[in-house]
Subunit: 236 residues, 2 copies
DNA sequence: GAGATTAGTGACAGTCGCTGACAGTTGACA
DNA sequence: TGTCAACTGTCAGCGACTGTCACTAATCTC
């Protein structure tokens, strides 16, 4: 209760008190489960990895796995969940004057930069990216991913509606813009996962470049448009 | 193999030969299972309906259910699957000169008209619409629905790419347009399922009206735009 | 510091979706 | 009419997930 467990460094900002042994143990177990899960998913695939496998790799019982994660799916998307939280916060911080699509685009650019580090604190970044590619080729994971993306869009639509002073239940436009934004993101993920460069910067660049093409792509005609290269990525 | 089983009416178009007893029995079993499934889903909800319940309601064994449908999910989306097939065909039939988004929009308008009847041949239309609203409120169903929508978009992207003479693997634009189209459809479904009018015409009108708003909604600002009503539907 | 409290865990049993194997039944066709 | 293939039911089993209960260990109380 004294000063002993509230480490306050010189900068004045009080860092959260060092958690007790129990809390640290819990964290270690969760991280071990998370890492074991992602490793197995990336190696053998999602479907061919049983919860028993994960529990055994983390040296706990199956029952314990389910105490940390609601299911296989929750473990699979634990990292993404955190990354999405960062993004939503970035959107909330954008200046109110900005047009919706610009706000989303800029927030994405910002959070991309910090997300790599945040992920690295949980699991090796490389592992996460390897797993991320598995999503696209696993129907059960893709379905879950899309459902989660849908929920995220709903949250974003409410943020956008708030910025613009609109009611999300009567005006469809906030949802439409966010849905268009999300649609481009998903196309990007698909193209990225099919490409050669599985790195995070490649995904980042592809995303931002495709977002720039939304409006041109909607207003055809396409055939007579030679100065827009077909491939929006850096690879010619 | 003679003329006896090829009923050719006066109009000259040969209707398919009347199936044998075995085939008719199969169809009856399948329809009974389908109808029982949708009825139970609409009444008790998807999750609280077991495959055993469905099989029992259709008076067959659980094993038989799985011989007709790959799983609960496949039974749930059997009707939608057929409707989607109609739509894709309508897109393929659109004149080549049309801009992609227009082709999609017009094909949708066309297939909407015939879809009601097609569904009615399988299950009561009212039942289908009641079930369709369950999707939005059932995470497992929503996930499956979104994954299926994603697959449909992939197919449409290839059709569009073919019409425009583009390669879907290097040019992101076909996928982007189709994704935007799909995004609007999903927003519509969401607004429809939250609204009062659960009928098929309401869904149809809402869809077409929202599609008209895609481009205006993308190019803000919104606040200073009094002549575009917030609610795109017919209800003021 | 010893005992009471409580969180975390493992072991076990059970449900539900789904699959493989095997045997019995029934429509199709010679 | 008898053979054959298709269709079906029964049974056994796997994997995801949940409830229960007893046991251990971190934390709290005195």
């Amino acid at each position: 209760m004294g000063r002993a467990d509230t480490t306050t460094p010189a900068n004045g900002v009080p860092s959260p008190p060092r958690p007790g042994l129990r809390e640290r143990k819990k964290r270690r177990t969760r991280d071990a489960l998370l890492r074991a899960a992602l490793e197995l998913f990336a190696e053998r695939g999602y479907e061919r990895t049983t919860v028993d496998d994960i529990a055994e790799a983390a040296d706990v019982s199956q029952r314990t796995f389910f105490r940390y994660f609601g299911g296989k799916e929750e473990a699979a998307f634990f990292v993404s969940r955190m990354a999405e939280g960062h993004f939503v916060e970035a959107v909330r911080r954008r200046p109110p004057g900005e047009a919706p699509l610009d706000a989303l685009r800029h927030a994405l650019g910002e959070s991309w930069d910090s997300i790599g580090d945040s992920i690295g604190h949980l699991v090796p970044l490389d592992l996460h990216m390897r797993f991320y590619r598995v999503i696209e080729s696993t129907p059960a994971l893709l379905a879950a991913h899309l459902r989660r993306a849908n929920e995220l869009e709903e949250e974003l639509a409410r943020v956008i509606a708030g910025r613009e002073g609109l009611d999300v239940d009567t005006d469809p436009r906030p949802r439409v813009v966010v849905a268009v934004f999300g649609a481009v993101m998903r196309v990007t993920e698909r193209m990225w996962s099919a490409g050669d460069d599985a790195g995070l910067p490649a995904l980042r660049d592809l995303t931002l470049s495709y977002l720039d093409q939304v409006e041109p792509a909607l207003s055809g005609p396409w055939r007579t448009d030679p100065d827009t290269p077909g491939n929006g990525s850096g690879t010619p």
